[in-house]
């Protein structure tokens, strides 16, 4: 086993939608004590840093904006990261309270071309999520976590070198309660190596069996099995705006991240989507629903964002947006079209599908139509609009049955009553149909020529005793 640990040092800050330029900090509380757990860049110049008490921080800068952490949104965001990470390994888990995520990479190393290439790949990819991160690599879960917090990216790949690498690190990096850390420090120990050198029974007597077990797991002397995270089969992701927003631009940052995470999730499952629902929730009002359908299976976050933007730009917002909710409940295979190197046709079909999606996004789903035939003698019912998910062969089969049909005009019009009859050419074509549905029609169709030289397709309705214009021979 080889674990890559990803530590999000600014997690509570990074999950916020906006990047404030004024000092802002996230706080946590325990009893009556409140302290800072994450600070933005603007805090640094004011001399405010994480771990400070709220009173002390406010004394340095009274304008400091304080936001209490939301553990539920942190957990939610961490789950999304977990789903994203599944593209690298099927053994992923996380601890939202520690802002830490682990990926078992031992099995994926060859596939991604070695450790360096894999970490670089993850690093580039995680940048699109908009988090600041640190990596740690080690053969045990807890050691990887320590390397990540200590920002020792290189890490250790073999158990034999683990103790040497851990020993010089300060004991505050150990994942133990603050009381235990204090107790260790009070004895005079400073480095992890000093703890590792102690006999285990002595350690157990002084600091409890739980801490000893932790140390054993840290160095790999005791197995440390973890339950891998499994993202649910329906993909749901919510995002709360602390301050309601009223334009599309403000929505883009969280949306971009949501889609990047979704892309990771889809890659991890080697799947794609054709339908996505975005719900814009408002205060005390019906949410605005945005549904995106794509012609071909899709998982590219950039394309999805572009398509959503087209729709968002044309959506009228009834009120400010308090929350975004993204749902994908159906997944489809991406197909192997993207992998084909020498055949260009699938690529063309992909591009074509992308174009149709783009058109649909701006004009609406119903404006982009494919046509088909249906088996009905009534001219106005002899055709249909083919829906994009309908199989193509249902249309093709209809084609053959209509092969011996008489000529039809290029344009079909809604029947318009005629007051003056143009010159009729030739004999009529009798069309009788629909008597079995009660929607009976009995018509004699003629080709006619107007005095101005246009050719019309008209019929005389036997029941109504009236003439109608139905088509144009163009």
């Amino acid at each position: 086993m080889l674990w890559l640990s990803i530590y999000f040092p600014q997690f509570a800050l990074d999950i916020r939608p906006s990047r404030e330029s004024t000092p802002l900090a996230i706080t946590d509380k325990h009893g009556s004590r409140r302290w800072l757990i994450a600070c933005n860049v603007a805090c640094q110049s004011a001399g405010i840093h994480r771990g400070m008490d709220v009173t002390g921080a406010l004394a340095r800068d009274p304008t400091l904006k304080l936001v209490e952490r939301s553990k539920s949104s942190e957990r939610q965001a961490m789950k999304a990261c977990g789903a994203w990470a599944e593209q690298y390994s099927n053994s992923v888990f996380f601890d939202p309270s520690r802002w830490m995520l682990w990926i078992e990479i031992g099995a994926s190393l060859t596939y991604f071309g070695g450790l360096d290439a894999l970490v670089r790949n993850i690093d580039e990819n995680i940048e699109s999520l908009g988090y600041s991160v640190r990596f740690g690599v080690a053969p045990t879960v807890e050691a990887a976590a320590i390397f990540a917090v200590a920002a020792q990216t290189g890490g250790v790949q073999h158990k034999s070198k683990l103790i040497d690498a851990l020993s010089p690190l300060p004991i505050r990096l150990l994942n133990a309660s603050p009381d235990t850390i204090e107790a260790l420090k009070s004895v005079g120990w400073q480095r992890i190596g000093e703890i590792l050198a102690l006999p285990r029974d002595q350690l157990s007597r002084r600091f409890g069996p739980e801490f000893t077990l932790y140390i054993e797991k840290l160095v790999g002397a005791h197995p440390d099995p973890r339950e891998p995270y499994r993202a649910p089969t329906t993909y749901r992701r919510r995002f709360d705006f602390a301050d309601p927003i009223h334009n599309v631009e403000a929505m883009l940052f969280p949306l971009r991240r949501m889609l990047s995470e979704l892309q990771g999730f889809l890659r991890g499952r080697d799947t794609a989507l054709q339908r996505l629902t975005l719900e814009l929730r408002h205060h005390k009002q019906q949410p605005t629903l945005i549904e995106l359908r794509t012609t071909a299976p899709q998982r590219d976050s950039g394309r999805l964002l572009a398509l959503l933007r087209e729709q968002l730009d044309r959506t009228l917002l009834p009120a400010d947006i308090t929350e975004l909710a993204l749902t994908v409940d159906q997944f489809v295979a991406l197909g192997d079209t993207q992998l084909d190197l020498f055949n260009t046709t699938p690529k063309r079909e992909n591009d074509w599908a992308d174009l149709l999606d783009k058109l649909r996004a701006r004009l609406g789903d119903n404006a982009v139509k494919r046509l088909g035939l249906s088996n009905d003698h009534r001219p106005e019912k002899a055709w249909c609009v083919v829906h994009q998910d309908q199989p193509e062969d249902s249309v093709a089969s209809a084609l053959n049955t209509h092969d011996d049909e008489p000529e039809r005009p290029f344009w079909l019009l809604d029947p318009t009553p005629l007051l003056q009859l143009p010159r009729l050419l030739g004999k009529p074509e009798r069309i009788e149909a629909g008597w079995w549905t009660g929607d009976e029609c009995r018509r004699d169709y003629y080709i006619a020529e107007t005095s101005e030289g246009s050719r019309w397709w008209l019929y005389r309705d036997a029941k109504k005793q009236q003439w109608f214009l139905h088509g144009l021979w163009s």
């Binding site: 174009l355 404006a367 046509l371 055709w383 000529e407 101005e452 030289g453 019309w456 088509g471």
Partner: protein, 216 residues
């Protein structure tokens, strides 16, 4: 190096220089009508250029004129996009004319602006076989945009406009009015890039025969 060869080399190396004795090479597709082909510089509908068709009225054969070329494109598995046509392109007629319906896209845009946007996007994307656009737009800049988009593609780009537009200038490479005559469809070439204006009449077999004459 002699002066003549130097000049020759220069002519060949720079696309900005053009020898008037050479006819510019025009990429074109067969219209399906040899008498019309002979009047067009590339012996057919020019590719990558806007073609303006100005029918006097509807129902005179303005679609039949382009059908042979569209059919050929479909056989090459290229798609045909109808952008905001005035009526429903009737599927049984399309199928009968040899245009497989899975190659046809009907864009039912509500505004003229959307329609022009669609045509532009489709042309720029470069995969489509033909774009047929119906637009009432008279703005020179919009037409110029369409012409530029057409130039980037190797599609047939047909623009159908009302006959009143004939008197106004247009950036299209080929413009023609279509009018019905007892002898057939009269085509008047108003503007032919790389050619000269002309007039021909295509025989009336462009139009459907009444059922009675088929029976006879």
């Amino acid at each position: 190096m002699s002066r003549a060869t130097a000049l020759d080399q220069l002519l060949r190396s720079s696309p900005q220089l053009w020898n008037s004795r050479q006819v510019a090479e025009v990429r074109a597709r067969d219209t399906g009508f040899s008498s019309l082909n002979s009047l067009l510089p590339g012996q057919g509908w020019p590719l990558g250029a806007l073609i303006e068709l100005l029918p006097k009225r509807e129902g005179i054969g303005e679609m039949r004129l382009v059908l042979p070329a569209l059919k050929k494109l479909c056989q090459e598995a290229r798609d045909i996009v109808f952008v905001r046509p005035p009526h429903l392109p009737y599927p049984p007629a399309l199928a009968k004319a040899g245009l497989p319906l899975n190659r046809i896209v009907w864009i039912d845009a509500t505004s003229d602006e959307d329609a022009r946007w669609v045509a532009e996007q489709t042309l720029r994307q470069g995969l489509v076989g033909a774009v047929l656009l119906w637009s009432d737009c008279t703005k020179d800049i919009s037409l110029r945009r369409l012409q530029l988009a057409a130039r980037e593609s190797d599609a047939l780009s047909f623009l159908y406009r009302s006959p009143q537009a004939a008197t106004a200038a247009s950036p299209a490479a080929l413009r023609m009015t279509l009018s019905p005559l007892p002898a057939g469809l009269q085509i008047e070439l108003l503007k032919v890039q790389g050619g000269r204006p002309a007039r021909i009449t295509l025989p009336p077999n462009l139009l459907p025969k009444p059922p009675s004459s088929e029976a006879a």
